[in-house]
């Protein structure tokens, strides 16, 4: 029993990573006032580009750089379209998700169907926790756990962080004190590109190959974690961890009968979404969305 709990905990720690990274990507964007429902698309694109470049060059470094570049570019497209062309941030986000689904589907069918060899990845640290469970920790996972602490410090204690909050809370007042929202948001969205890019790389590194829609909604779970965490890095990390626990439960309870009924895996999978709706309904404390979210 104790052993099972330790495995659950260890597994949840690892599974937190993509959600936390996506949530931090969303945090950076939404703190600056740009609504971002395109986290999923950026993750998927980075995963796809990593596979494409990794299989071609056999270098994880090139693959990683290209993947991050792709998600940064996609993020900057969101910036360009919403800030210069003043397109509604939701329309832009939806469009980017569709562009990403289309482009990665295209690349997968055209270039990634007959790949040979193994995908170069950053080696993981393996720890044997129990007789049948080996814990794999990659640098990406460690980054996912450290990043929210860094961001929490950054937003409170640095000039850049305060500017970020100022723009996100009220872009017009920020303009008055000489902070250009457009510039701050460009930097924030580059950060979004990096964080979601790492999340995508994490997916494809674990799987060893790219498959269509492989991120399977993780970007939206990351968004849910961000909202549940009240748009603050550390609570968002905690929410991501809670969602990862649901995930791990799903694997552990697979086919197990509890009080005579089998809990379907979809139950655990839908928990993050249900909890988020309940939170938005105000049953879990008041909403703390940045005041200027969605404003020009």
């Amino acid at each position: 029993m104790i052993n099972a709990l330790i495995v659950l905990f260890a597994e949840a720690l690892v599974r937190t990573a993509p959600y936390a990274l996506a949530a931090m990507g969303g945090w950076s964007s939404e703190r600056s006032g740009v609504m971002n429902i395109a986290l999923e698309g950026k993750m998927l694109t980075a995963a796809c580009v990593y596979a494409l470049v990794g299989f071609t060059t056999h270098s994880f470094l090139f693959a990683l750089l290209a993947a991050l570049l792709s998600s940064i570019l996609l993020s900057l497209l969101h910036w360009l379209v919403t800030q210069t062309y003043k397109v509604d941030q939701i329309i832009s986000g939806m469009a980017i998700n569709v562009l990403a689904a289309g482009a990665t589907g295209f690349i997968a069918v055209r270039y990634l169907q007959e790949t040979s060899g193994t995908l170069p990845v950053i080696p993981t640290v393996a720890v044997r926790i129990s007789s049948d469970y080996i814990w794999h920790i990659s640098p990406y996972v460690m980054l996912a756990w450290v990043l929210p602490f860094v961001l929490a410090w950054y937003v409170r204690r640095t000039r850049g962080g305060l500017r970020l909050s100022a723009v996100g809370n009220d872009p017009d007042k920020a303009r008055l004190i000489g902070v250009a929202p457009k510039t701050v948001r460009a930097v924030a969205l580059i950060a979004t590109g990096v964080f979601t890019g790492v999340a995508g790389v994490l997916f494809v590194s674990n799987a060893g190959r790219f498959t269509e829609d492989m991120t399977a909604g993780s970007g939206f779970i990351g968004l849910a974690a961000l909202i549940l965490g009240g748009w603050r890095p550390l609570p968002a990390l905690l929410a991501a961890f809670a969602f990862a626990v649901f995930d791990a439960m799903q694997t552990i309870f697979q086919g197990v009968h509890l009080f005579g009924i089998t809990i379907p895996s979809q139950f655990w999978q839908s928990l993050p979404y249900v909890v988020t709706v309940v939170a938005l309904a105000g049953f879990l404390g008041r909403s703390r969305a940045p005041a200027g979210l969605g404003k020009a």
């Binding site: 609504m35 429902i37 379209v81 210069t84 062309y85 003043k86 397109v87 509604d88 939701i90 329309i91 832009s92 939806m94 469009a95 980017i96 998700n97 569709v98 562009l99 689904a101 289309g102 482009a103 990665t104 589907g105 295209f106 690349i107 997968a108 069918v109 055209r110 909604g217 939206f220 968004l223 849910a224 909202i227 379907p264 979809q266 139950f267 999978q269 839908s270 979404y273 249900v274 988020t276 709706v277 938005l280 309904a281 105000g282 909403s287 969305a289 020009a296």
Partner: protein
């Protein structure tokens, strides 16, 4: 004047950039672009059969587009139409499997609409009374709808001896009748109802007090509130009505076309419907050509896929189209503000 000129130049740059991306993608397919374009039109409009297919693809998009359009007029983004469609479809299937015949069709349509409205209601309530953004709630509810129906069709509702998550097929007496049916050509009554909905919506928005109030809330909720409109109630009702239309599209999809429900039932209709509503801009009547065009993209996209052009390319076209349309029509701030 110079501002508008500068803005026009920016728009031209955007359009050129988008076209360049599409052209490069077309070149990368390995099939000559001229061939792909030709195939696209042959596949979507080239024969009676192709046109019939395009109309069938356009039918759910037209009804869903009308649903999104209605919400949009009230200032709401109903991204959740995808989940409302799915819930409408699964409830209609469950009812039709129990009650065959004309009575079953009526009950299935009513049940589908109720399911769609119920699935949209939390988003409306949370937006009106708690200030939670409807986009976020509906995204979450879409995922829940996908998982819930995925569980239903792999457990309680799975067809006997099925090896994939799908329900049994409906009895032919439960099929929604066609208004026209020849060897190469059929027009479903779902399409006719869709067209009627568009006209009714246009009339309702323009000629009734409720429609006027809804648009007043969409234009400026605060001003509408001062004019005595209960904007919260309007928002909840608009969302529920939009959801009911989404559920209706789901019920029709089962009764008229697929005759059964299966996992991952909606092939991304939510985004397409948003596209249809955005292309239609302010005029409900424009939903008709917009839905037809999206139907062409879907039908033509399937056809070019047979000749080795990945279907992903039609999503690229959609994404680009939405960005350009939105850049032209849906700028939030005034141009002069730049």
């Amino acid at each position: 004047m110079t501002v508008t000129l500068k803005h026009s130049a920016k728009l031209v740059a955007l359009v050129i950039g988008c076209l360049a991306v599409l052209f490069i993608a077309l070149l990368l397919t390995g099939v000559p672009p001229s061939q792909t374009v030709k195939d696209f039109f042959v596949g979507s409009l080239g024969s009676m059969d192709a046109i019939g297919g395009t109309l069938q693809e356009a039918t759910p998009l037209l009804i869903l587009g009308a649903g999104v359009f209605l919400a949009l007029r009230a200032g709401l983004f109903n991204i959740g139409i995808d989940g409302q469609f799915t819930m409408g479809a699964v409830v209609a299937t469950a009812i039709s499997l129990k009650v065959p015949g004309a009575l079953g069709i009526v009950l299935a349509v009513i049940g589908g609409m109720a399911a769609g409205a119920a699935w949209a209601l939390p988003a409306g309530l949370i937006r009106a009374y708690r200030g939670g953004h409807e986009v976020i709630t509906t995204i979450m509810l879409n995922n829940v709808a996908g998982l819930l129906t995925g569980w239903l069709v792999s457990g309680p509702m799975i067809a006997p001896r099925a090896d994939a998550p799908m329900t049994a097929e409906l009895a032919p007496s439960s099929y929604l009748p066609d208004v026209m049916h020849t060897a190469q050509w059929r027009v479903s009554s779902a399409l006719v109802v869709g067209v009627l909905i568009v006209f009714a919506l246009g009339y309702w928005l323009k000629r009734t007090v409720a429609g006027y109030e809804l648009q007043a809330v969409g234009a400026n909720a605060r001003a509408a509130e001062f004019a005595g409109v209960n904007s919260k109630r309007v928002i909840v009702r608009a969302m529920a009505a939009s959801g009911a239309i989404g559920g209706l599209a789901g019920a029709f999809q089962v009764l008229a076309f697929t005759h059964q429900f299966y996992e991952h039932y909606s092939p991304g209709y939510g985004f397409d419907a948003l596209g249809v509503a955005l292309l239609a801009a302010g005029a409900p009547i424009m939903l008709l050509p917009a839905a037809f065009f999206f139907g062409m993209l879907s039908k033509g996209g399937t056809f070019i896929a047979i000749n080795g052009v990945p279907k992903g390319i039609t999503y690229l076209v959609l994404g680009v189209l939405i960005i350009v349309t939105a850049a032209i029509r849906y700028r939030k701030a005034k141009v002069a503000h730049d």
